[in-house]
Symmetry: C2
């Protein structure tokens, strides 16, 4: 499998020079055409998906996983639209990020350039095949897609359409490649392909991300946990807080930007905590509270230490009293996974200190943490969210999947 992956990576590297030189229009044409081919191939795609669904049912996999795997007409149409959304974004490659001059006559530019070869390792969602391909192509990177074995037939059907798009636009087929083998050794081979693959992006559950982060000898863009906090300050407007907390926790509980811990200012009126907890319970959320909050509502559960470090991804929330914004910042520094943390406050000075002192990839004021998403940021689509300290951080769309180089121009300039 190592040899097979190295062959794919070498082919990807062969595609890079042409991809570096190509016109923006070629990338757009490839994605538009692939979307049209997907529309026209809906029968083949649904048939391939039916094979995956049948095999999955025979393995008795969970209903949630089956739902992720399942394609229908609407979802195939959404996949095609997704390609066009990425194609409509500005081309990030070649953008001049900074320009300056030096007294000796040298001019300097910092210019956005592709990362190189990107490996994407994912699980059962068929749309990741096309989303990842679109984002990497638009950012000038060659991609090696490693679909989970459960969705391999669906992935192959979509991959055929992507290749048609590349061919239509005279782009090298090595720009987008699918790992045809479902052997798990392929993942290990990708993680060890230093010098051949420039970056690995895992998309899937925590066990996949943890394995990739532990084993990779190639840099990884990922987040392991989304332990997101929302802090309600005593200066918060209670009605605004109620609306935001319900949305941040309950709109969709299974996404990484869902709030997992509610921090409430101990100096706020008791009514705040009582109302917020009561709203959550009415909405069907299990509420785990610290002892200071236990007497506010009979049906709450006492939180254990582990609760503050738990990403529930379910209708469960932990709630804690903290001493104002300082206490909130301290709690977040200790327990946050540096994904997304929010403050609800009318006091602008308090809000400013929260936004400055919380070091997460995304900090929010008077908004729902569920906005932690590349689409909501206006990036067209995202390939994931990074909680790395180094860039790219936060939602990663085509514009973030680049690096830069310096272009220095002289006129026979030599160093003294």
């Amino acid at each position: 499998m190592i040899e097979y992956i190295h062959t794919l990576a070498s082919t990807a590297r062969e595609a890079l020079p042409q991809l570096t030189r190509c016109q923006t229009g070629q990338k757009i044409a490839a994605l538009y055409n692939a979307g049209q081919v997907i529309r026209n191939s809906i029968g083949d795609i649904l048939a391939a998906n039916a094979v995956d669904m049948q095999a999955a049912k025979e393995k008795n996999i969970s209903a949630a996983l089956l739902d992720r795997l399942m394609l229908n007409e609407a979802r195939v149409e959404a996949i095609a639209q997704g390609l066009w959304t990425v194609a409509d974004q500005p081309d990030p490659v070649g953008k001049v990020l900074a320009t300056w001059y030096r007294p000796n006559g040298l001019t300097f530019e910092r210019v956005a350039v592709p990362l190189g070869v990107v490996g994407v390792i994912y699980e059962s969602r068929p749309n990741v095949t096309t989303d990842a391909a679109a984002i990497t192509l638009m950012s000038g990177n060659a991609v090696i897609l490693r679909s989970g074995s459960e969705s391999i037939h669906s992935a192959r059907a979509l991959y055929t359409c992507l290749q048609a798009g590349l061919d239509h636009a005279d782009l090298h087929p090595g720009c987008i490649q699918l790992v045809e083998h479902t052997d798990r050794a392929c993942v290990g081979a990708m993680l060890g392909a230093q010098g051949l693959i420039d970056i690995i992006i895992p998309r899937g559950g925590k066990s996949l991300v943890a394995r990739v982060q532990a084993e990779a000898r190639v840099p990884v863009i990922a987040h392991l946990d989304g332990i997101c906090h929302t802090y309600v300050d005593k200066s918060a407007n209670l009605e605004m807080a109620r609306k935001i907390i319900l949305n941040a926790k309950m709109r969709r509980t299974g996404i990484c930007g869902a709030t997992e811990t509610l921090l409430i200012d101990r100096n706020a009126p008791k009514e705040y905590a009582r109302q917020l907890i009561s709203d959550l319970m009415s909405a069907g959320c299990e509420v785990r509270v610290d002892p200071d909050l236990k007497d506010l509502h009979p049906n709450t559960v006492l939180a254990q230490d582990a609760d503050w470090s738990t990403e529930y991804l379910a209708a469960i929330i932990s709630v804690k009293y903290v001493d104002g914004v300082v206490g909130a910042v301290e709690h977040i520094a200790r327990y946050s996974s540096q994904h997304t943390d929010a403050i609800i406050a009318d006091d602008q000075i308090v809000a400013a200190s929260f936004l400055k002192e919380v070091n997460s990839a995304i900090v929010m004021h008077n908004a729902s943490t569920q906005f932690a998403d590349g689409g909501e940021f206006g990036f067209g689509a995202e390939i994931g969210i990074s909680t790395n300290r180094l860039p790219p951080r936060g939602p990663v769309g085509a514009e973030q999947l680049v690096t830069y180089k310096y272009v220095v121009r002289g006129n026979g300039t030599v160093r003294a």
Copy 2:
């Protein structure tokens, strides 16, 4: 040693919140004061350095290493001036890198923030102690300095002055820490301190960098090799090419930005290659050529395959004929260490294709590769040059030693 390093890292993390909140003026005051204390402590510093020099001489270390280790009045003054140069740079922390709005009323900012705790592992140059401390402090990072054992007394003397600067500016002493033990196990402990140290920067010879890159479980900013190329196109002005090549190779042969391979357009007049090789030989450079160039000058040596991948760091150069800019780009793609590569050409279209297609951290047109240096880029000082694909790439000064976060502001905004 692991416990000791973890204690240092925990102290550094304790310093971070205050460092995140502090005023730019505090950082400037700390660096200015440390520089003054260094001036006033010159006797102590030179005495400490004499201890290091004595021990080094007893170990019979090389003259080059002794020279790197040695301090005198002028060098101590340069160390103080170095702190002030960094203090005079704009504060990179808090800089708003981008701002945009979404139709739902959310406003977005991408804001530069410190990386966190930086570990710097270096060898015998005493000035790295102060340069690294200044750059990391200015960029809002806490630093753990691991000096080589040969320069530990000099490092301690300078470190005392840095601490005086922090104290003067009411900054936490954990902002700058020196590893007091010279045990090599400390390096291993730093490389494995995931979650405690955010980034490791090795500064020193190839064996140090290779060890750090191989063992680190923490992201590393570094370059292993500086195999820099200069390509002379047939459209080059020969007089300009002669001036640049001599400077790029011979100004200082031991720096990473020195040109190691000269590529000459096969379509250029024979006179070009003859003159350039003759200039280099007259300047005392050994010239290793490919067979096509062997008959141009009697005293050249035939290059072996290994020469194209060798960073000489000496008065030796390899020279090759290539088929125009396409051949140059191909050779560089194969052999360059992605550090710095240059073209000399009057033809702007040829130059543009070279600058676009060569993927190194720094690409240059009509200038000497010896400008690959943070000071020459206007960054005040550099802590190193990165050939990583991901940012930061190229010279790393205070402005590059930051990451970013997103600040999102709403007005009770919830996701549909």
